[in-house]
């Protein structure tokens, strides 16, 4: 699993619960359930910010920064404390008058100044919990600390994120299920723009034109490799429609599906299994 997607997955599921294995995320426990992802907010001095996640409950509200970069986010987190709570209602979130609890979610510890830091690798751990003003949240985090197993949490529908631009293997692993859809009998093909839009899923409308363009360019490169080196028997790029598509639609026999999967695995993960590649393509 790719680090960025793992971190997003582990962070998002702090807002949810499951029956098997029994799990209640501490944010849900603290009454924070509705979330807004990567949407614009304005600080009290009119600066536009795009925090990764904002959520609000009965006892307070939080702003979350999600990062795999080792450098400090203290400066950005400071700006987040100035986000105007009067805009919470714009997204249907519960209104507050006080400052938010600003939290940084990471896979490894780093220096983020006086802000609470959640470390979300295999088990939930945190630093600086004392700075959390929301009592319910502080209590829920304390109860979950070092006890909450994160590594079998459900996947999320976001399979690519802007930071993956230029990271070939991560992009390939992100989009190979979108490639499989090309084999549907009524599929007329997909453009690079469509592939990126579908991969971004719920954050599609939140990313900048520059990030989108970088992702599209990277996806184009990787799709060309797939068509040229792995599935040339089945797939082509149609210059007229700018679509990647199946050369000739036919009923896929089980063995054909099996061999397509093997080629997709080679493309996305080389000769090794897909999960062995999480350490590649450093940021």
């Amino acid at each position: 699993m790719d680090d960025r997607i793992t971190l997003w997955r582990n962070t998002l599921h702090l807002f949810y619960e499951s029956k098997k294995p029994p799990y209640i995320g501490p944010f849900k426990q603290a009454g924070l359930s509705k979330i807004v992802i990567d949407s614009p907010f304005i600080t009290t001095d009119s600066k536009e910010m795009h925090p990764d996640i904002v959520s609000s409950g009965g006892d307070g509200w939080i702003v979350l920064e999600i990062t795999t970069k080792p450098s400090s986010k203290e400066c950005q987190l400071n700006f987040y404390t100035q986000i105007n709570p009067r805009n919470l209602g714009t997204y249907g979130l519960r209104q507050h008058t006080k400052e938010p609890d600003v939290i940084c979610a990471r896979l490894e510890p780093a220096t983020d100044g006086p802000f609470c830091q959640l470390i979300l690798r295999d088990r939930l751990q945190f630093n600086n919990e004392a700075c959390i003003k929301n009592n319910s949240l502080r209590k829920a985090l304390n109860e979950a600390n070092d006890r909450l197993d994160l590594h079998k949490l459900p996947n999320i529908s976001i399979v690519i994120v802007p930071e993956m631009a230029g990271k070939s293997k991560e992009l390939r692993r992100g989009i190979f299920d979108i490639v499989m859809q090309l084999f549907a009998k009524d599929c007329e093909g997909k453009t690079v723009e469509q592939i990126v839009k579908e991969g971004l899923d719920k954050i599609n409308t939140c990313i900048s034109p520059r990030d989108r363009s970088s992702l599209e360019s990277s996806v184009k490169t990787q799709m060309d490799v797939l068509v040229r080196d792995h599935l040339s028997e089945y797939l082509m790029f149609d210059e007229t429609t700018r679509c990647y598509k199946v050369k000739e639609h036919a009923d896929l026999h089980a063995n054909t599906k099996g061999s397509i999967v093997r080629e997709l695995k080679k493309w996305a993960g080389g000769d090794r299994s897909l999960e062995e590649f999480s350490e590649e393509d450093p940021a």
Partner: protein, 347 residues
């Protein structure tokens, strides 16, 4: 007999069949007219794109009802398309032919699927009163992941019963099986003024057979009620999928053989109709990504020994959640419940 052209004529046709069957049952202990069957269909298509299982649809005067014309089954196949997502097909054709026609139609058309009734949906008539009494169960365990026939632990049982007080032992056995295995069908009787007014069997794949009935309106309204209930469930599940990042969670009572599951889905085989690639592997947990071959929508599936998390990106059809629950439950996972963020859905 003239061609049916209005909804009223359709009702009269059914009513005549019900009355004729009651008469021949009383006189000769057998029925004479074809029994009514209904199929609940989940559709993401308009009628033109969906077409008909046989022939072409012709609208019944001033309604959202249609009759199939030109396919060799005169006055025998009708469609209630008054709901956008859940359609109901009524058939007076024999059961095997109807099943074959409907299955082939759904298989040919991406965007059409069966309605997959969850256990709470199959059993919900027990909770509403109105004279409905459970009169038996079908239990199924098909071991679809078994590697060979000898090791397949297949079970298929139907237990019909009358009043529980007189056959308590059979009722106890059926009740025990119900707690361990998936329910494939439930037989219901509706009693009005101490007489049986409907005897019907509901199947987990959205089929209904009407074994006996007195009043056409009563039959149509209760089938409509289930269609409404399912459409509401789909609507609610779609809202949940769109507004949160939580998956649908499927809980099983029996453990799945993960290796066999992985082998089956990597080739797109089996009734689950999933074509998936395994992306993470542990002894008791696997992650998969791929497509649901019914609609070719993408899905992400995380499978533990007795649970699965189903994530449906984009605008993918949420009907895969109850389908997986029913098929996987009847295939090898026993009783299956569907949750979303801790709350049971499709109930």
């Amino acid at each position: 007999m003239a061609a049916v052209q209005t909804l009223q004529e359709f009702r009269e046709l059914l009513q005549a069949g019900f009355e004729n069957n009651e008469k021949t049952l009383e006189q000769f202990d057998k029925i004479d007219s074809a029994q009514l069957k209904a199929y609940l269909i989940e559709s993401n298509l308009d009628l033109k794109a969906a077409g008909a299982p046989v022939g072409n649809w012709q609208r019944l005067e001033d309604t959202d009802w249609y009759v199939s014309k030109g396919g060799g089954h005169f006055n025998s196949l009708f469609l209630d398309k008054s709901r956008s997502r859940v359609w109901v097909i009524y058939s007076l054709i024999d059961a095997d032919t109807t099943k074959s026609l409907i299955n082939n139609w759904i298989k040919k058309k991406n965007g059409l699927d069966k309605v997959w009734l969850s256990r709470p949906q199959l059993l919900h008539l027990a909770n509403i009163g109105e004279g409905w009494v459970e009169r038996g169960l079908g239990i199924k365990f098909a071991d679809g992941l078994a590697t060979d026939e000898d090791s397949a632990g297949n079970v298929s049982v139907k237990a019909w019963h009358g009043a529980n007080s007189k056959t308590q032992d059979i009722y106890d056995i059926a009740d025990h099986a119900k707690k361990r295995f998936a329910i494939s069908s439930v037989r219901w009787q509706k009693r009005t003024n101490r007489a049986v007014s409907i005897t019907t069997e509901w199947y987990s794949d959205g089929r209904v057979t009407i074994n006996r009935a007195m009043d056409v309106d009563e039959v149509l309204i209760w089938i409509s009620e289930m269609a409404n209930r399912y459409e509401d469930s789909l609507h609610e599940a779609t809202i949940l999928r769109n507004s949160t990042m939580a998956p649908f969670e499927l809980n099983f009572t029996q453990e799945i053989d993960l290796e066999s599951f992985s082998n089956t889905v990597s080739k797109g085989k089996g009734d689950m109709n999933l074509w998936l690639v395994e992306t993470e592997h542990e002894t008791d947990f696997r992650r998969f990504k791929g497509v649901d071959l019914h609609t070719w929508d993408r899905i992400l599936l995380d499978v533990g020994l007795d649970y699965a998390y189903l994530t449906i990106p984009g605008e993918g059809c949420v009907n895969s959640a109850p389908r997986l629950a029913v098929v996987q439950g009847e295939d090898n996972a026993g009783v299956t419940s569907i949750y979303h963020d801790g709350t049971e859905v499709f109930v």
